[in-house]
């Protein structure tokens, strides 16, 4: 932007005013884009770190249904490390990206029997078991290790709000249904059911970071 405003004060031939304006605008656009890319790269670098839960949170008891129609409860994950994500299948931008990260985590932990994956929908009336099954197929989910859960909406929202995410009270357009903050994050739960860390599910580095976090937690004992 500064380059554009300096150019603007330079004298220019009157007949070329229009051409000049076009060039100035183009320069402004290029400068703007450049700084935008730079800022974005910087931001991405800064954000490469774990996010702590806003308060101590634990995986609470629940009873929900997976994409194969099976009942799933808290007890199914006793003693396991978990990677947890949040979605609704009508979500066309963020949710597919985060689900790709989950698929990578699934592949990276394929030989670790103490690791499970969990995805919770916020829109269960739409996301019935068959709809979640289709979503799982799209991302090559091994639904024995990676459980996509639906069920009673109140229970799902309670579970997400109690065990994982704070809720926001801002404009309802700005957050995923349920007004949860940070729905693009992937949560790591330790083998005792404590929610330990979140990672940005939109970042390509996150699957490796999640695996490293689980390896670190495994040594804790």
């Amino acid at each position: 932007m500064p380059s554009a405003s300096t150019n603007e004060t330079n004298p220019a031939g009157r007949g070329d005013e229009k051409l000049f304006l076009v060039i100035v605008l183009a320069l402004a656009a290029i400068a703007g884009l450049g700084s935008w890319f730079a800022a974005d790269a910087l931001k991405r670098h800064d954000d490469l770190r774990e996010i702590q839960p806003d308060k101590p949170r634990r995986l609470e008891n629940f009873s929900l249904t997976d994409s194969a129609g099976r009942e799933v409860t808290r007890a199914d994950f006793d003693g396991k490390f978990l990677a947890v994500s949040f979605l609704f299948t009508s979500c066309s931008l963020t949710c597919p990206e985060v689900t790709k990260r989950m698929a990578e985590i699934q592949n990276l932990t394929a030989t670790n029997d103490d690791v499970r994956l969990l995805s919770l929908t916020v829109d269960p009336r739409t996301d019935t078991p068959p709809v979640l099954a289709k979503w799982g197929t799209r991302f090559s989910a091994d639904t024995n290790r990676w459980r996509l859960l639906t069920g009673d909406k109140a229970q799902l929202h309670w579970l997400i709000g109690t065990s994982f995410l704070a809720t926001e009270t801002n404009n309802p357009f700005n957050s995923m249904p349920g007004n949860f903050a940070g729905t693009e994050r992937i949560a790591v739960v330790d083998q005792h059911g404590n929610v330990r860390t979140f990672f940005d599910g939109l970042r390509v580095e996150t699957p490796a970071a999640v695996v490293a976090e689980i390896e670190k937690l495994r040594k804790e004992k």
Partner: protein, 293 residues
């Protein structure tokens, strides 16, 4: 579709392509002035535009958040987001602007009321749906209650919705259901279709009217396009399990289509896009039999 979006974008950049164009023909020759109350949300750096969350403008527009322009850039000097103001909205045949801004107070912030969506319970078939007000494609307020005694089928969309199996599918199904009913000599006449946009920032009445033409042709019989304010959606959406999220400049949303009977009670709900125009027409026929007492 892309051409339409581009056209809409161009139209928006032209002053006067806001609701002013859709004022009644009687008002076209003279200036109309409306006294309005609102809260400043945002000021453009050049002080030519201001985003105001305004109250209902009786006889002209529902309460909504929208951009206004000023003719005198000094008019916005000293104002800041959060200021409660009164102002005059001047509407001519081909332009509109605001003037005489007066600060009446200051809000704590520009955010909406707390507890936006979770507070409203989901309704079931047989439950009465409260009345809601929208801004119609002709720039005037429209309410569910305007259609009392008629079966009302409504669905949600936004004009720049890019996914063919989402919003366009809903409006195509509405078009076909309307054809079915209009062509059937035995069908009831007391019904109404309403396509409601999520996007009060972009889907101004003129945009809605132009978009409606794609699906409706020149015959507007019993099918109205309208836009819901964020406040309206915050209350209506949870009642019909409508979910939406503005992400990366677009709006992700699920699909909810509802048929109300003549008394405004929920008669049938169609989730997703896996339903046919014939099913909708059948539901409207049945719902229309439940007349107002």
């Amino acid at each position: 579709m892309k051409t339409l979006i581009l056209l809409c974008g161009l139209l928006l950049t032209v002053p006067g392509c806001k609701p002013a164009v859709s004022t009644p023909p009687a008002a076209a020759a003279t200036n109309q002035t409306f006294s309005v109350r609102g809260i400043i949300q945002q000021l453009s750096p050049d002080h030519r535009h201001v985003t105001i969350k305004h109250e209902k403008i009786p006889g002209y527009m529902a309460a909504m958040t929208m951009d206004f322009s000023v003719r005198d850039t000094n008019a916005l000097a000293g104002f800041a987001p959060g200021d409660e103001i009164t102002f005059a909205l001047v509407v001519t045949g081909d332009d509109d602007w605001i003037e005489n801004l007066q600060r009446t107070g200051k809000t704590g912030g520009v955010s909406g009321p707390p507890g936006w969506r979770a507070v409203e319970p989901e309704l079931s078939v047989g439950d009465p749906l409260p009345d809601y007000e929208f801004t119609s494609e002709n720039g005037r307020p429209v309410n569910f209650s305007d259609f009392h005694g008629r079966a009302v089928a409504f669905t949600f969309f936004f004009t720049s919705c890019p996914l063919p199996e989402y919003c366009p599918r809903m409006n195509r199904n509405f078009a076909e259901a309307r054809n079915v009913l209009l062509a059937d000599p035995n069908a009831p006449a007391n019904w109404q279709l309403l396509s409601i946009s999520f996007d009060s920032a972009f889907d101004q009445p003129l945009i809605l009217a132009s978009y409606a033409g794609i699906y409706r042709g020149t015959n507007a019989d019993r099918w109205l396009f309208a836009v819901a304010s964020t406040n309206t959606l915050a209350s209506l959406a949870p009642k019909v399990d409508l979910n939406f999220w503005r992400e990366s400049g677009s709006i992700s949303h699920n699909l909810r289509t509802v048929v109300l009977d003549g008394n405004g009670k929920i008669f049938r709900q169609f989730d997703g896009n896996d339903w046919t125009p014939e099913q909708l027409a059948d539901a409207i026929r049945a719902a229309a039999k439940t007349n107002a007492p």
